[in-house]
């Protein structure tokens, strides 16, 4: 839509500026183009420096030998595929990859499922709907590391409120949410679901608003059940929005670092170590930036695959 309007009106716009102002149209056009690029160039430069450069640099770094002394003498000799084989041979990488898969899929299912249910709920008309709907956004707006710390307090095995709450109902009551390797990943997913619900809800709610009301009227005239209406009308029409929500949710979940560091620091016994935290551990704790870059590259590769999905989804949106 954007390109058509621009191209339809632009040729007409060429004339006033070129003919009225400047005698030499070619030079004037060149000058005009230059001044136009002036608007865009800073952004391009910034993105090259802050996104392009890191991407290239990360690939190079993964073939270099970084050690703590590199930052004093500046020497990081190339070492072939040493970093790669070292990282891939370490059990921790496999674990982190698996945790990332479980964390991402678990989070997405929870966030999306609950987000969709809430979105559908809020399409009902009832008093205070708007206020409640906007207040639900709050968890998404609070810094993630802060949410992580709050939940760490809530999930504390001995003095956390979740266990004392469960205890009053006789449901266990001493669950080591964050301190047992078997439970920690589950708990981290739970918290991330909580964080992601508002985002999913808002976008899906927006999508639901776009579904033409007449379709629901027609369905109710035909006597379709609520479930049937949801399956045959709502879901198919919501599909583009659902794709976007899932892909964006994926992109933000797969690289999560703040939350896990705040909740568990990757522990206990590496049970919540993911590709994001492993990159951080390798680079900024072990100061082995080469190994960190290897894990980072894997993360990029995974993201790139989904970036393709996203762009596809975006294009089918009619952009």
């Amino acid at each position: 839509m954007s390109t058509t309007t621009a191209s339809a009106t632009a040729p007409a716009a060429d004339h006033p500026t070129t003919t009225v102002k400047k005698p030499d149209p070619a030079r004037a056009r060149r000058r005009r183009r230059l001044s136009q690029w002036g608007f865009i160039a800073p952004a391009v430069l910034f993105m090259v420096l802050f996104f392009g450069y890191p991407l290239v640099r990360n690939v190079l770094m993964s073939f270099q030998d970084y050690s703590p002394s590199t930052f004093f003498d500046g020497k990081a000799p190339f070492n072939g595929t040493d970093n790669w084989s070292k990282v891939f041979q370490d059990d921790l990488f496999g674990k982190a990859l698996w945790h990332t898969v479980v964390f991402t899929i678990g989070s997405l299912i929870g966030q999306f499922g609950i987000g969709l249910a809430l979105a559908v709920f809020f399409t009902k008309r009832f008093p205070l709907n708007g206020v409640l709907r906007s207040l639900i956004l709050l968890p998404w707006l609070v810094p993630m590391v802060v949410s992580g710390i709050v939940w760490r307090r809530i999930l504390d095995q001995d003095t956390g409120v979740l266990n004392s709450f469960l205890d009053t109902f006789g449901l266990g009551g001493a669950t080591p949410w964050l301190t047992s390797p078997g439970m920690a990943l589950f708990s981290v997913i739970l918290v991330n679901i909580w964080i992601g619900i508002p985002f999913n809800m808002v976008i899906l709610y927006g999508g639901l608003q776009e579904v033409p009301k007449e379709l629901y009227e027609a369905a109710s005239l035909d006597g379709a059940s609520a479930w049937r209406t949801f399956r045959s009308i709502t879901l198919p029409l919501l599909k583009p929005v659902i794709t976007v929500v899932l892909v964006l949710g994926f992109m933000s979940t797969v690289k999560i670092l703040d939350l896990i560091l705040a909740l568990t620091d990757g522990g206990p016994a590496d049970s919540t170590q993911t590709l994001g935290t492993l990159t951080y551990q390798n680079s900024f704790v072990q100061l082995d930036f080469g190994a960190g870059a290897v894990v980072g590259n894997v993360l990029i590769l995974i993201s790139a695959v989904f970036a393709v999905f996203y762009l596809r989804a975006n294009r089918s949106e009619g952009k």
Binding site: S2, T3, T5, A6, P16, Q36, W37, F39, P42, A43, V44, F46, F50, F51, P54, L55, M61, F71, F121, F126, P127, L132, S134, L135, L137, L138, P139, W140, L141, V142, P143, V145, V146, V150, R153, V161, W194, F199, I203, G206, K213, S220, L221, L248, V254, L261, G276, T279, Y280, F289, G292, I300, A304, F306, A307, Y310, L311, N314, E317, K319
Partner: protein
């Protein structure tokens, strides 16, 4: 829609029961909200009873104890100011770079702009830790580690692609006649941009600014990785290191958390329509 259902269905409810049912939905909505916001309530609750912070916390604070807040302000107040300074710096950089670019990409017909728009979409998908990984060594070489400006720049990168996409989708809709009229009146390209385009795009500018503020304010990763000393420490990093050092002092930690959540709460109340617009507009459109 409501009237058709009423006339068509034989079991139409009378208005009184319908109203009751609508308030029923409100009750359910409040319950949902209660569950969703419980952790934030708990944060405030714990902050108000610092002496109980080590033990189980009672569901409602017995009286208000502000000592958690006083020690949080004493120990984290400086970091809060750092966060503010960095976030405002990042917003300024972000808007100064993104607004002209969004305009150019929306209205100029230049070769390569499609590629650039594509690029902005792609950059939103680069994992932050990968950027930090490469940026750190570059920052060491450039002397930008432990500097306000360095962190502002890095934090601006969280908002710039989003701001470009958001503002561009808005500026595309500005009629060309408006811009041409300004240029015919003798305004230069820059003056047209500042005096015509920016005022017209006010809403999208506010939304983009708001989000880049939130991104920078919430940033933890760049603060953690691009700083090796305590010179530039935003509150997110401050709180994180706080629990490492004083794991027992939950009252103060929670008080500091409450303080760090205030901008989000304030923005939600004052600018909720921009926030909703930003969440949907930046991603779906």
């Amino acid at each position: 829609m409501a009237t058709t259902t009423v006339t068509q269905t034989p079991t139409a409810q009378r208005p009184a029961t319908r109203a009751k049912r609508r308030w029923g939905a409100t009750v359910v909505g409040v319950l949902i909200l209660g569950v969703m916001l419980f952790p934030l309530y708990w944060m405030l609750n714990t902050a108000l009873q610092p002496e109980a912070g080590l033990l189980e916390v009672s569901p409602i604070p017995h009286g208000v104890d502000m000592s958690g807040f006083t020690s949080a302000i004493r120990e984290q107040g400086g970091h809060l100011l750092t966060s503010l300074a960095v976030a405002f710096g990042a917003v300024t950089i972000c808007l100064a770079i993104a607004a002209p670019a969004a305009y150019g990409l929306a209205q100029f017909r230049l070769r390569g702009t499609r590629t650039i728009v594509f690029g902005t979409l792609i950059t939103q998908m680069v994992p932050g830790i990968v950027i930090a990984n490469a940026l750190y060594s570059a920052y060491v070489d450039l002397g930008l580690v432990n500097s306000y400006f360095g962190l502002m720049l890095a934090d601006a990168s969280l908002g710039i692609p989003f701001a470009i996409v958001l503002m561009r989708s808005f500026m595309v809709a500005i009629p060309r006649e408006v811009i041409e009229a300004a240029e015919v009146d003798g305004a230069g390209r820059l003056r047209t941009f500042v005096q015509v385009v920016l005022p017209m795009s006010r809403n999208s500018l506010i939304t983009a600014g708001l989000f880049s503020f939130l991104y920078a304010w919430s940033d933890f990763m760049f603060a953690l990785t691009l700083n090796t000393t305590d010179d530039v420490k935003p509150v997110t990093l401050g709180i994180y290191q706080y629990i490492g050092a004083h794991v027992g002092d939950w009252g103060s930690v929670m008080a500091a958390s409450v303080l760090s959540a205030i901008p989000a709460a304030v923005l939600l109340v004052l600018a909720q329509k921009y926030i909703a617009a930003g969440i949907t507009g930046g991603s779906v459109k």
